[in-house]
């Protein structure tokens, strides 16, 4: 398997080198293009900062970010087709719908273009897929915060967007697994489904407070669960007695972080993800292999884990969650 990959890599590097001689007359740079789901959204505007930064900081590589004006898998595929015919050196892609891009990405790789992806660990036709973190570890991280805040004893509960949202369920399970080491922690009414509706999360949180008046810990799943839970906690006047942690975005959650109804949120910074995708593309173009334990020089990606993906490619995982609380939410403009 490994031998095979090396062979592939070698032949690939050779083909890039040959292509490179042609392109070198026009410009000395390697060209890496990041293709996002949609332009104009806060999340991807933030990612663009990382993409641009990498190009500015490194000589001999040009980076830019493009994306469809609206989140549409077909438009994203069309943009990638265009980039293939422009013969860019590498593509860094955040797929809208991974399965719809399999064909076009296979074609890109066939043309000798390096393909790096993000948030697509089910994708077959990619050379390196970047995940900010392992989902179980991310869940355990919330549980760690909650357990610490509660003094390792008492009742806690978890929320998911829906039982069908795989990542949310993995976070809840990861949290539950972590808590198993503390016999005094009691999980009640686990995996409440908020259906990504803050109002539903609010109603559920109120009902849970009624059913378990001594409950202290809440682990949010979808990014708006903490908003709904925070509102219920605030109305009950329990800001100081409860510990609410979960996925969230700084601006959206800021009011509840300030009041203390939500104690902390975590997310992964799209700026870093954009930057690291370009590191991976650069390294790949230089023929460098990424191994478990490598330090990519970006916070959260100092000790990456590399595993085999579903196809020929590999999955690179960091531990790149960013913790945000009342003290630092204003550092993030999204």
């Amino acid at each position: 398997m490994l031998k095979n990959n090396n062979l592939l890599l070698a032949s690939f590097v050779a083909s890039v080198a040959m292509l490179g001689t042609g392109a070198a007359t026009a410009q000395d740079d390697k060209e890496v293009v990041t293709v996002v789901k949609v332009t104009g959204e806060n999340w991807f505007t933030r990612m663009e900062e990382g993409v641009t930064l990498y190009g500015e900081e490194h000589d001999g590589i040009g980076t830019r970010q493009v994306g469809p004006a609206r989140a549409d898998a077909a438009q994203q595929a069309a943009i990638i087709e265009d980039l293939i015919s422009q013969e860019v050196d590498a593509l860094a892609i955040v797929p809208m719908d991974p399965s719809t891009l399999e064909g076009v990405l296979r074609r890109a790789m066939g043309r000798g273009i390096a393909v790096i992806t993000h948030e697509a660990d089910s994708l077959q036709n990619t050379q390196l897929n970047l995940e900010a973190f392992d989902n179980a570890e991310f869940g355990a991280h919330f549980a760690e915060d909650i357990a610490e805040c509660m003094g390792h004893e008492g009742q806690w509960t978890s929320f998911v967007g829906s039982l069908g949202s795989l990542t949310h369920v993995q976070w809840a399970d990861g949290g539950e697994e972590y808590m198993a080491q503390f016999p005094e922690m009691e999980l009640v009414s686990p995996k409440n489904e908020s259906f990504n509706d803050a109002n539903r999360a609010y109603e559920l949180a109120k009902e849970i407070l009624r059913a378990y008046p001594d409950i202290k810990g809440f682990q949010g799943g979808s990014a708006i669960d903490v908003i709904g839970i925070g509102r219920a906690v605030e109305e009950a006047g329990l800001e100081d007695e409860t510990c609410v942690y979960g996925l969230g975005l700084p601006q959206d959650t800021s009011a509840y972080l300030e009041s203390g109804a939500v104690d902390g949120i975590a997310f992964w910074d799209p700026k870093d993800a954009g930057y690291v995708m370009n590191i991976l593309a650069d390294k790949f173009l230089n023929g460098e292999e990424i191994k478990t334990g490598d330090d990519l020089g970006v916070s959260g990606y100092e000790d990456v884990t590399v595993t085999d993906g579903p196809g020929e490619g590999k999955i690179v995982r960091g531990q790149a969650w960013v913790d945000v609380d009342a003290s630092n939410w204003s550092d993030y403009p999204f």
């Binding site: 959204e41 806060n42 609206r70 989140a71 039982l163 009640v188 009414s189 686990p190 995996k191 409440n192 489904e193 259906f195 990504n196 509706d197 803050a198 109002n199 609010y202 109603e203 559920l204 109120k206 009902e207 849970i208 407070l209 009624r210 059913a211 008046p213 708006i224 908003i227 509102r231 109305e235 009950a236 006047g237 329990l238 975005l249 601006q251 959206d252 009011a255």
Partner: protein, 347 residues
């Protein structure tokens, strides 16, 4: 020997008569069914967990019933006319998000009454579009409203926005916090019955009066029961269809604004996927999916039942996957009950 047997027969006859009378009576009062289930649910949940018997819990359930209740009244009217509507959540989401953004960016000082007025007009307009498509294209209502639901949602997310909007207009925020009365909950916190609950009461009263005491109400049931006969009797079937969809749209628009004021944020992804629970509430309340039947009281009880089941099962410690299953069982039970009712009452 003979006497005993005859008396036995008599008893059987009496029992049968009582049973038959019960079925006939229930056929005329289908609201008894959701009421029965509500009582059973309350008694069993309350027996397991005494925390159920709190005024604050009642307030929470009534508060959570408002948006679903408004939707359900719209669905009731559409169902009664023999149609079906699944686009009301998309109408509500579209109205609430577009209107919130509009008010914040253009007229930040607009009062709550004109906001509701605009929401009603926008909703009624979008609903009327459904009605026009259904009556003039002669297309099945389910297909038309599935289509408009997808189109509205797609348009909203593509051209209006996808971001969560936290800073809602002050008039909406203030209205959402206004309470009629408040109760003190177990941990000392205040739980209020919000003023927007009165909007549901008002909408229910108007809908009841319209269906029961106006010409349009009679026309709706006539069209829903036998459209060809209604047409021969001189009812304007097309106008009735446009009206019912516009009415459902109006209620959906108002419900959307209430959702934002209660939630203190506008999220364009909200409300999607709640259509079937609303339709289930209306059917639990005795309306027939085939049209021509249904009552406001039954519908409201159906809504309370659905809200009750989806909120209080946590009190009994039932896992979330089971909550949906129990809801499903109730709906199935209702379907069987009503079909049995029809068969026995016909005899």
């Amino acid at each position: 020997m003979i006497t005993i047997e005859s008396s036995h027969n008599n008893l059987d006859g009496v029992a049968q008569k009582v049973l038959r009378n019960f079925w006939v009576w229930s056929a005329h009062h289908p609201a008894i069914f959701p009421l029965f289930l509500i009582v059973v649910t309350c008694l069993s949940v309350g027996a397991i967990n005494a925390d159920f018997w709190q005024l604050s819990n009642l307030f929470d359930i009534l508060r959570a019933s408002v948006v679903r209740g408004l939707f359900a009244l719209g669905v009731l009217v559409v169902l009664a006319s023999g149609g079906l509507d699944v686009s009301f959540t998309a109408i509500a989401a579209f109205v609430m998000y577009t209107l919130t953004l509009f008010v914040v960016n253009v007229v930040p000082d607009l009062g709550i009454v004109p906001i509701f007025g605009i929401a009603g007009i926008m909703g009624a307009g979008l609903g009327a579009l459904n009605g026009l498509l259904v009556s003039y294209l002669r297309a099945p209502a389910l297909i038309v409203t599935i289509g408009t639901q997808y189109m509205l949602r797609g348009f909203l997310l593509t051209f209006i926005g996808t971001a969560l909007f936290m800073n809602i207009p002050s008039a909406m925020d203030a209205f959402g916090r206004l309470n009629i009365i408040t109760a003190t909950a177990a941990r000392g916190s205040e739980i209020g019955l919000p003023v927007y609950f009165l909007i549901l009461i008002l909408a229910a009263t108007v809908t009841w009066w319209m269906l029961k005491h106006t010409l349009i109400g009679r026309a709706i049931f006539a069209v829903g029961g036998k459209p060809d006969v209604a047409e021969r009797l001189g009812y304007r079937v097309k106008s009735v269809r446009v009206f019912v969809f516009a009415y459902a749209g109006l209620l959906a628009g108002v419900a959307g604004v209430i959702h934002v004021t209660a939630n203190r944020l506008a999220n364009p992804f909200d409300l999607a996927g709640t259509e079937l629970a609303v339709i289930a509430a209306v059917v639990l309340g005795g309306a027939r999916i085939t049209g021509g039947m249904g009552s406001v009281v039954g519908t409201m009880l159906g809504v309370v039942l659905i809200t009750l089941v989806s909120n209080v099962l946590i009190l009994v410690g039932i896992p979330s996957a089971w909550q949906t299953a129990i809801l499903g069982a109730f709906i199935l039970f209702a379907g069987l009950f009503f079909s049995q009712l029809d068969r026995l009452a016909m005899r």
